[in-house]
Each structure stands twice: as C-alpha cells, then as structure tokens.
C-alpha cells in the first residue's frame, strides 16, 4: 500500500516536472532557458521509463536526448541572434484556436484510450518481472534483426547524406589553387 502511494506520488511529481518544463520550453522568451526546459522534460520522460521498470530504455533516453540532442540544441541556440525571432506580434485568435485544438486533441486521445479497454482491471494487474538487458540483446539479434539492420542502414545513409551536403567544394578548390 505504502509502495503504491509512493509510486503514485513519484508519478505525479515526474508528470508535473515533465509537463511544466515542456511548457517552459515552449513559452519562454529566452531560448537557452527553453532548451534547458526541453532537456529537463526529456529527463522526466526517462523518469517515466524508470517508473515502468525499464531502466535500459531510461538510460538510453538520457544518453541520447540529454547527452546529445539537448547539447546540440543548446549549442545551436547559443550561436543564434535571438532578437530577430520575436518581432512578430502575437494574435489572440491564434492562441484561442491553439487551446481549442489542444482540448480537441486531448479529448480524442482520451476517448481512444477509454475505448481501448485499458481501464479493464485485468490489464493493470500483472506481476511480470522486469525484462533484463540480456533478453533485449537476444531479441535484437534474433526476432528484431531485420528491423535492426534496416535502422542501421537508414542511419548510415543519413550520415553519408549529411557528409555529402556539408561538403564545401569552394574551400577545396581554394586549397588546390594555393597548393
């Protein structure tokens, strides 16, 4: 019972942290604070994974999103002039429309979840042990091997594409001329 209450309290606080920092990330005028809010929100999602007994996914969430994506975002934001970004005046009608859209979206998702039978108590009562990392590894190279190969090819293709796009021929030509 105490454990349940603890888990609920943790869930609520992580949820408040995640949503609050997501709102900060969207609303703040300081872009760096927005990027920090994004990083904290991603850490909150890692907290959800920890609460769901999947530490492996949680650690990768932190490694990839906080360690790499947030660093990239902050790095880019620091090099950008922020004054020019906020010259457009806000339209109150757009704000209202956004809130209405949000409510419709949340209502739709909620209806789908309620209709899906997740409220059935048989769904929420399961006592399976957490999946250990070795099982994930075995599944990755057996059942999910085609997906893994496909993902690897996609990543390789995108890295090669990025290299090709970032290649600057003018600099190479200049170097040749100097030589």
């Amino acid at each position: 019972m105490v454990l349940h209450i603890m888990a609920d309290a943790l869930f609520i606080s992580v949820a408040i942290l995640t949503i609050g920092s997501a709102i900060v990330a969207l609303e703040t005028r300081e872009l760096v604070y927005g990027a920090i809010g994004l990083a904290i929100s991603m850490m909150g999602i890692a907290g959800f994974f920890l609460l769901l007994d999947s530490p492996f996914v949680a650690m990768f969430q932190i490694t990839v999103y906080v360690g790499a994506v947030a660093v990239l975002v902050i790095f880019t934001v620091m090099l950008v002039r922020t004054q020019a970004l906020f010259s457009i005046k806000e339209d109150p009608r757009r704000k209202t429309a956004g809130i209405v859209l949000l409510l419709v979206f949340i209502g739709g998702i909620g209806a789908v979840v309620l209709a899906s039978g997740l409220g059935n108590p048989a769904f929420t009562k399961f006592n399976k042990p957490a999946i250990d990392v070795a099982t994930i590894g075995k599944q990755m190279v057996t059942y999910y091997a085609p997906v893994l190969v496909l993902l690897g090819l996609t990543l390789a293709a995108s890295v090669i594409g990025a290299l090709a796009l970032a290649r600057r021929e003018d600099i190479e030509q200049k170097n040749e001329r100097v030589d």
């Binding site: 920090i36 932190i62 490694t63 902050i74 990392v133 070795a134």
Partner: protein, 433 residues
Amino acid sequence: MATVPEEFRFGNFLASIIWVILIVIVLLTLVILPLTFIVLFYVPLPPVNGEVLTPYLFLTMIVDPTRTLPIVKYLIHTTPFKVIVFPGFVFAAIIAAATIFVERKFLAKMQLRVGPLYAGVWGVGEGILQLAADGLKVISKEILIPSGADKPIFWAAPIAFVATAAAVVALIPVAPGWVVSNTDVGLIAVFAILGFFPLIALLFSWASNSKYPFIGGLRALHQMIAFEIPFILSALSVVILAGSLNLTHIATSQHPFWFILFLPISAFVFFISSLAELERVPFDLPEAESEIVAGWLTETSGMIYGLIQLGSYLKVYALAALFVILFLGGWSGPQIFPHQLGPPDAIPLVKVLTLQGLYNAVTVNAIFWFLVKTIVIIMLMLLPRGISPRIRIDILLHTGWYKLIVLAFVNMFVALALIYAGVLGPGGSLSIH
C-alpha cells in the same frame, strides 16, 4: 597593553557563564528531552539483531558498549549512510581532497620544487594542512558574478556539476555489496550521467558572459563529445567478455584473470579517453591557462570555484575506480587481513575495541585492494601533468575521432574471437565456473 575593557568585572563574567549554563539546562529540560522521548516512544524503530528496538533497549545499548556495536552495524548498512558516507559522497570527497594535495606535492617533487610547505602542524608534514587552509580560503572569499552574467545558470551550474559527479560515484561498487545503487544497467548509467558534463560546462561558459569562458566551453564540448565514442566502445569489449552491464558482476567475473590481460588496447583507449573526459593534461585545452586565462573556469571565484574543483576531482576518483572495476579485477586480491582482530572469549571492553561482530575480514580486504588499485590509477592520471605538454586541438580531435575509435574496435574483435573460440565466457576453458 591592556586589552581588558574599562568596565570589565570578573563578577559579570561569572554571571554571564552561569546564565549560559542556565539557558542550556532550561532548553534541555523543556525541548530536547521531550523531543527525545517523543521520538523514542512514538516513532516506530527498526528491528536490530532480530529484536525490536524499544526505548529501553536503545538506552541500555547506549550505556553498555558491547551492545553498541549492533546499532553501529545496523546504521552503517542503512541506505542514508551508504549514500552520504561510505561508498557515497564523503568517502569520495575525502579521496578527492587527498588527490588534490598529493597532486601538488607529487608534481612539485617531479619538477624539483618544494610544493606546499608552510601549512603544517607541529612542524611536521610539510604543508599537510594546505588543503584545509585552501578550503577555508575558498569558503571565506567573496563570490563575484560578472555583470551581464545569467545569474540562475551561473549559480546552478556548479551545484549541478558536483551533483552529477556524486551521481557517478554512487554507481561505483567498492566491495561486494558496498554500492549505493546496484542496477543491472550500471555501465550505461555511468555513461548516461557522464553525458551531462559537456552540457553543464557549455551552459556555465555561456552564462559567464565572457569571451574566454565561452571559448573554453566550446572546446570542452568538442573534446568530450569526440572522446565519448571511444570511451563507450572500449568499455563495450569488457561487456562482451563479462556478459553483463552490472558493475559488481563485471568486477567479480574477472576472478582468475583480469580483463587487462585480454584487452590491453581497450584499457589504453579507456585510460586516454578518461584523461580527455577529465580535461587533464595533455588534454586540458578547455582550461588552457596560457591561452585562454582559465578556460570555462575564468569567471569562477570563491566557493563556485571550490565546488567545480571538488566535482572534477570526484570525477577523477570515479573514472579511476571505473578503470579498476572494468580492467583490474575490482576488489579481488589476496586475503591479507586476519579473520578476527582479537580472541573471541575476551572481556567485553576488549571485544568492543577489537570490533567483534562488526569487523568483516573479507570486506575490509576488498576495500583495501580496491583502494590500492584506485590510488595507483589516480597517480597514473596525475603523472602526465608533470611530464607532458598540452596538445593542439586538431591533434586532439584527430586522435579521438580516427585513432582511438579504430583501436577500440580492434580489441572488440579480439574479445569476440575469445568468446567464439571458447576461451572465455560461459563454458570457456579459462573461466572458473
């Protein structure tokens, strides 16, 4: 001459002391004793040695020294003690502080200097109190915040730096069972937490609102991200051999042969990458004092500087300990401590003094060997600062991105070959079952 003020009277002095004693007695009877009894009677106390810790038992245990040891034993096995004191923060902070002093003395001896000399005690120790003096100085100095600095980030970043370093320390096991957080994904968790450091350095350098810190922060970012990949890859070959990501399991799985025997190249890559991750010479470009003042630490002063120093030396301890766990067999070593410190049928006072019931020879031995290996690795990490110049940034990035990654892959294939040839791993010819 006379420092006694004119209106000094000995009677007034005595009266003030009596007043203080009276106030203490009144506070004791009115506040502290009732609070103690409320805690003892109403807060449910945990069982110790199979007995429920009633107030009566607690008081007898305080009076009788032979009954105190079970309480101490119970207390040092609680989670708060582990987090705060022993494998956790205080233990690592003491090692970090000792590292700072030893580094200064060691480098001085290497360069035929004297090093810290005057802050000694009773004329011995050659500046052994230098660290305490430095600590007092750092605490008492004013914290200057540059104008135009981003204050919230400027204040939060040093605290986040220390907290992140302490989080890495919490994952390091120092003896069987002596670890704050024994997770199945310990190694990945270490790398996930280490990923915070470039973020903190970059944010702090940006928040300083100054040119040199920002250049230093960008250098720190480039360097840490370039060396993170060989860092993780070199640890991956250990995971292949051990078949686990749990640090305790990795340490115990190299029982007959340490992994450094099979993976010397990985150990080398790991060591070099950890030097880069720690921003130590020859990879101290982010703090290059002869080029960019002090890099991303330029605007730090007072305790902000102290916190960042503490965090970076906690990191030194954590990464040296990680090297020991991954490659040097963790805490394994010959048993050199006796199983009992005194005769088992001695009088109670001797029993207490020889810590019977509390002393565990295996654990003490494990901690001893772990500390010996860790200190050797820390000294190896300090050594380049005395003998090596700083390298250029293009050489640094070239080393990280081209050479070390390839080297890490080489030893990963060696590890795979050892597994598939049946030499190591489950059922291998060299592994003890």
